[in-house]
């Protein structure tokens, strides 16, 4: 484990230092007074986290929509993907709708959703679901399709029932792809959360972002984004830890 840590984090830190160095270098030579230096962003984040009471409130409000919406996406997306993957006729029914959801630009729909569901939590949750659910479904379906037919036949040859085939073969076999979908879905859910708050329902972190940019406090704008990124990375890392335990047999296939 220790060698892994060193192997991964050494180069990562080097890349990070290079990006920060370039950032600082270009800003000190460009004379663009609106773009904050990296050091200013960090100090902005420090002020935000420790001295801005509205920040924690905003984080809480945003995360409500994120967590509820994401949980719903997982709860709906995985079963739909499992069914579409295993049952041809369901797949044929769902296929065009999945296509629509995949191609759909969600942002222009936000006003319509707000009109239909109001300015409350429900609308924000719904948008998060719209952003995330289809990627979870599509990956789960691909995972189920990817389960080797010979394994299903093998189980059947021992007299396995459909329920046993699901529990012992299909779901474990699709697990790596399900996790891949959940990871991509999480990224999309975070995008959806910030998007809806920026575009229409001025609340949570989106409202803070609007306020900071309105006052030209670009360091705080970047600091808020930095916090969102850190939260996303922590959630992804937590998910990867679970994934490694559940799907240690599979090659790493997840994207996102």
């Amino acid at each position: 484990m220790k060698t892994n840590l060193a192997r991964d984090w050494g180069p990562r830190c080097v890349v990070f230092a290079a990006i920060v160095g370039l950032w600082e270098f270009f800003l000190s030579h460009s004379g663009n007074f609106l773009l904050p230096r990296f050091s200013e962003i960090v100090s902005g984040a420090y002020r935000l986290v420790f001295f801005e009471p509205r920040f924690w409130q905003a984080l809480f409000i945003s995360n409500q929509a994120l967590l509820i919406g994401y949980a719903m996406s997982v709860a709906v997306g995985i079963p739909l993907g499992l069914i579409a993957g295993r049952l041809r006729w369901m797949d044929r029914i769902l296929n065009p709708y999945v296509g629509v959801l995949l191609a759909l630009p969600v942002a222009p729909l936000i006003p319509i959703v707000i009109i239909a569901l109001g300015l409350g939590l429900a609308a924000r949750v719904f948008i998060v679901v719209l952003f995330a659910v289809v990627f979870i479904t599509v990956n789960t379906r691909a995972g189920v399709r990817g389960v080797e037919a010979s394994l299903i036949e093998m189980a059947y040859s021992f007299g396995a029932s459909e329920a046993q085939i699901w529990r012992r073969i299909v779901i474990p076999g699709a697990m790596p792809a399900i996790f891949a979908g959940m990871r991509i879905g999480l990224g999309r859910a975070i995008t959806g959360m910030v998007m809806v708050e920026l575009l229409l329902v001025a609340t949570g972190l989106g409202r803070l972002l609007l306020e900071f940019s309105g006052r030209m406090q670009s360091d705080l704008v970047f600091a808020t984004i930095l916090v969102v990124i850190i939260e996303a990375l922590s959630l992804l890392a937590a998910m990867q830890t679970i994934e490694r335990r559940v799907a240690r047999w599979a090659p790493d296939i997840s994207v996102g």
Partner: protein
């Protein structure tokens, strides 16, 4: 006893209008209890289809397939299949893979574990119980597949080119191991192969099939004694049958190659 009478099977195209392909035509086969029958034929002669029908994995169109007088309508507890591509669950360790059939058939966890360990020992994989399939060589993987099939104590073992994916040395070692296992505890075996050596080395009888549609060209008795060792490969009877098989197979495939 496995009894196949006047069996035919066609595979239809998915679209309307595409012609059906006759895979098996008018197959007659009787396999006596504790007999080892090997099936050989050119590629695409439907030998795997025949095995899958006997296993109850796919339906058939015409004829009768029965085991001890009961018609085959699906998989049954008296049969177990060994697959060409091993069909091991990549997420499960050796022990779980071997115990799979037992668990599906409702044995208690303790029973499964004990029986699985016994079989793992029988195929010489003790010490590998906690390994994943990807950590094993091909030969070891198929020994897991064999142990899984034997664990449910089937009366009939259906083997679909089980050693076809293995290299020559591994294949020969596994053939010898299978012979020893079978000589110790006799089972009825139907063994699909495309290797003439294998067909003669293992079988009591060799069933020679014709190319599509698959028919029984000939049932050949193998007059070699048991227990059998590698020595028989040098005997004139062995070479004669092998030569005979090759003459036939070459004639069948003359147009294709």
């Amino acid at each position: 006893m496995i009894k196949v009478r006047a069996l035919s099977k066609a595979f239809g195209g998915y679209d309307h209008g595409s012609a059906e392909v006759l895979a098996l035509s008018d197959i007659d086969l009787e396999v006596r209890d504790n007999e080892f029958v090997t099936v050989i034929g050119p590629s695409g002669c439907g030998k795997t289809t025949l095995l899958r029908i006997i296993a109850g994995l796919i339906p058939y169109d015409q004829g009768e397939v029965s085991i001890d007088g009961r018609a085959v309508i699906g998989p049954g507890p008296e049969r177990a299949v060994v697959f060409q591509n091993f069909a091991l669950m990549p997420w499960a360790d050796v022990l779980s893979n071997v115990a799979f059939g037992l668990e599906i058939r409702g044995a208690s966890t303790d029973q499964c574990q004990a029986k699985a360990k016994e079989l793992i020992k029988l195929v010489g994989l003790q010490g590998f119980e906690r390994r994943l399939p990807k950590e094993l060589s091909g030969g070891m993987q198929q020994r897991v597949g064999l142990a899984r099939a034997l664990a449910v104590n089937p009366q009939i073992l259906l083997m679909d080119e089980p050693f076809g994916a293995l290299d020559e040395q591994t294949r020969r070692l596994l053939q010898e191991q299978l012979l020893r296992l079978w000589e110790r505890e006799r089972k009825t075996v139907v063994f699909i192969t495309h290797s003439m050596d294998e067909a003669v080395m293992l079988g009591d009888r060799v069933m020679l099939m014709t190319p599509r549609p698959g028919r029984v060209k000939e049932m050949i008795n193998v007059p070699l004694g048991r227990p059998r060792s590698r020595e028989v490969e040098k005997s004139s009877a062995f070479l004669e049958i092998k030569e005979y098989l090759w003459d036939n197979l070459r004639a069948m495939q003359a147009g294709d190659a």
